[in-house]
């Protein structure tokens, strides 16, 4: 498989993807606006953003499907804008397009071999089937599978050439929570195998759970990047104390002198925590009937990060 080894680039050989001031305009619409980031070998990178943020446009530029209108991007050291380099990139990347469906009337196995045949070398179909946990469905036609299983076939297909980097464009959108977890399981397995994964998603919990590095993109621009912890620490805001199911009544029972509390999610009381306040608050709560309620301390999530950065929340549908 010697021709599968990417050309080494002096001093930057561990940079699998490098994006430098990349832009893409569709007419007057600036879909991607001057973004820069990079992916290191073995990393799971999440590109997190709402509908229309420019995620697909960016990924498809890296997959050599679209031409950038500004800036540069390299994948495995090859320039995505150079024709001869594109051929080299295609041999070495794995792609799961957004909303991908395999061929309806081919079986799981046949689909894997179909897409595998497009490459010079392909991984053994049975090994991939095992990886995505589809052994019982191996000879089932694609159209007969449920949404979650279909998506796992897509994952297997994206890995068929043993790629150096896998681009997964919204791999769990539209799946039920159970199926989403299964897909996460596969991505975790890839991570443990040391694969570099470029994931786009509008699910905050998905990015938080899977990603080593998260870049938040909104209106074509990257508004924050870092590990999930870094993002939460710097943009997530304060921890919150939650008193479950306390209701209006609970608000009245709160001891005086606390930070301003609010009611959330039909009856939960939320109290923002400042550093070092937790013990005092808990002690004063112990004097009230609220001490019998379920009390927890919630760390901010990427949801809060996004809210703090943009003033909006992203819905389940990604809007």
């Amino acid at each position: 498989m010697s021709d599968n080894v990417p050309a080494p680039l002096p001093g930057q050989s561990d940079k699998v993807v490098q994006v430098d001031k990349l832009s893409k305009k569709y007419g007057d619409n600036v879909a991607v606006n001057d973004i820069s980031f990079s992916l290191t070998k073995g990393e799971v990178f999440a590109f997190l953003g709402p509908n229309g943020a420019g995620k697909t446009t960016t990924v498809e530029i890296l997959e050599c499907l679209r031409n950038p209108t500004g800036g540069h991007a390299r994948v495995l050291g090859y320039d995505v804008s150079k024709r001869s380099d594109q051929a080299e990139i295609r041999k070495r990347i794995g792609v799961l397009p957004q909303d991908f469906n395999a061929i309806d009337r081919l079986t799981v196995r046949e689909n894997i071999n179909y897409f595998g045949a497009m490459f010079k070398h392909q991984l053994d179909a049975d090994k991939l089937i095992e990886l995505v946990d589809l052994k019982d469905k191996r000879d089932e036609q694609f159209k007969k599978l449920s949404g979650g299983l279909k998506q796992r076939v897509g994952l297997a297909v994206s890995l068929v050439n043993d790629p150096y980097v896998v681009f997964l464009d919204e791999p769990t959108t539209g799946l039920d929570p159970r199926a989403r977890r299964d897909v996460w399981g596969v991505i975790e397995r890839l991570k443990s195998q040391g694969k570099t994964v470029f994931l786009t998603t509008h699910y905050m919990d998905e990015a938080e759970y899977l990603a080593d590095i998260v870049s938040i993109i909104d209106h074509g621009q990257i508004i924050a990047s870092g590990t999930p912890d870094q993002l939460i620490d710097s943009h997530g805001g304060k921890k919150t104390l939650i008193i479950r199911d306390a209701g209006e009544e609970g608000l009245k029972q709160l001891p005086p002198g606390l930070p301003k509390a609010e009611l959330r999610n039909a009856g939960d009381i939320a109290i923002p925590l400042h550093n070092g306040e937790l013990t005092n608050i808990l002690m004063s709560l112990g004097q009230t009937p609220l001490r019998d309620k379920e009390i927890e301390v919630r760390r901010p999530t990427l949801d809060d990060v996004f809210l703090n950065l943009t003033g909006r929340r992203v819905s389940e549908e990604g809007n």
């Binding site: 499907l65 679209r66 031409n67 051929a87 991908f100 395999a102 081919l106 046949e110 179909y114 497009m118």
Partner: protein
């Protein structure tokens, strides 16, 4: 290493034979049409068609003996007599052109001017019977005409040898409706499988992101198109063979497969998928592309002489038919398979190949392999 084109062909082919509706539309439906149309129009009556021109008129009324002779023919009940006007200067050509659309045998009996007079004078009158010796019915038909003639001559003159039937051989292929119809069904099947196949593998595969996925692999657009065309050629060959086989088995339609047939099948497998690709690129949504394909294939099917000869169409429709690619495929297939007219087959094959090159190139250029 398996070839990419082979993989694409086999993928399309598996998808085809695993779909019951595909099998229905490409195999069962054409056969159903053949059986239905063949049963309705294909089997002529048990009487023999016979065109008759009576030139022996007196002030526009048949003379006594010619009238009597025609009656005698009629009384046998063996003939459907079709009268050709006496003014018709070239009755044979008329018969040739009239018989085919009406699905009749091409046989002509001519009673000459002076028939009545000659017999009255005790001379020898000659009747001409034009017919194709290879016509299956020729022997029995000639036999009946001869015996009617002999007994009629005996009844009027007491001398059977006064009336002579002169048999003139003409070369016609006796084309029945079903012979005409079978190449049309082949053309229709090539049209629908080609157009709808391309709409499906380009329009629908694009919607399913299969094309996008393939575009991220080393596969090239040309390989993809070659794979599709290769698959269409296999399908076209299967259709041709199956339809001809059943045409022969059920209706005894004998067809000659020659180089033009091959050329036309190749042309059709480029031309109709090419049209489908053009459609799929103009109408982006797969479902609308399907509707557009219906809107194009149905009128084409009817106007291009699939079910009945274009000669029967109104003039304006005939002109429109000249712009329908299927017209040339249908005509070429008929010339090649049934009429054995190599010169006409060549012309139609060349036109079909030209159209094929145009549409497949246009479809390929229009197709977005990468950026939408």
């Amino acid at each position: 290493m398996r070839s990419r084109i082979y993989t694409i062909i086999s993928g399309h082919f598996k998808s085809w034979y695993r779909s019951k509706s595909n099998i229905f539309w490409t195999i069962a439906f054409p056969l159903l049409l053949i059986v239905l149309f063949g049963a309705i129009f294909g089997s002529g009556s048990t009487k023999f068609d016979l065109y008759l021109q009576n030139q022996d008129l007196n002030a526009n009324t048949p003379t006594l003996y010619s009238h009597g002779y025609i009656n005698a023919l009629n009384n046998t009940g063996a003939f459907n007599l079709h009268v050709v006007a006496a003014e018709q200067p070239d009755p044979l050509t008329y018969v040739k052109s009239d018989a085919q659309p009406h699905n009749r045998g091409q046989r002509l009996l001519v009673i000459p001017l002076g028939f009545n007079q000659t017999l009255k004078n005790g001379g020898n009158a000659t009747i001409q019977l034009y017919m194709d010796q290879s016509d299956q019915a020729s022997a029995s038909l000639a036999g009946i005409v001869r015996s009617v003639t002999i007994s009629y001559a005996a009844s009027i003159a007491g001398a059977p040898d006064h009336l002579i039937v002169q048999q003139v051989g003409i070369v016609t292929k006796n084309i029945r409706y079903i012979d005409f119809f079978i190449p049309g069904v082949i053309g229709m099947t090539l049209l629908t499988t080609g157009v709808f196949g391309a709409v499906n593998t380009n329009g629908r595969y694009r919607e399913l992101k299969i094309i996008k996925k393939l575009a991220t692999t080393p596969l090239s657009k040309i390989e993809w198109i070659l794979g599709m065309v290769g698959y269409q050629m296999i399908l076209a060959t299967i259709s041709l063979v199956v339809i001809l086989f059943f045409g022969y088995a059920i209706f005894g339609v004998t067809a000659t497969i020659d180089i033009y047939t091959v050329g036309l099948v190749v042309a059709a497998s480029l031309l109709f998928p090419g049209i489908g690709m053009v459609l799929a690129n103009f109408v982006k949504e797969a479902e609308s592309a399907d509707a557009a394909a219906n809107a194009i294939t149905f009128p084409m099917m009817f106007l291009a002489g699939t079910f009945w000869p274009r000669e029967t169409l109104p003039d304006i429709m005939k002109i429109i038919a000249n712009f329908m690619p299927l017209t040339y495929v249908n005509d070429g297939l008929r010339d090649a398979l049934i009429y054995a007219e190599p010169a006409q087959a060549l012309t139609n094959t060349l036109i079909a190949l030209g159209l094929a090159a145009f549409f497949i190139v246009l479809g390929s250029v229009l197709m977005n392999w990468k950026e939408e």
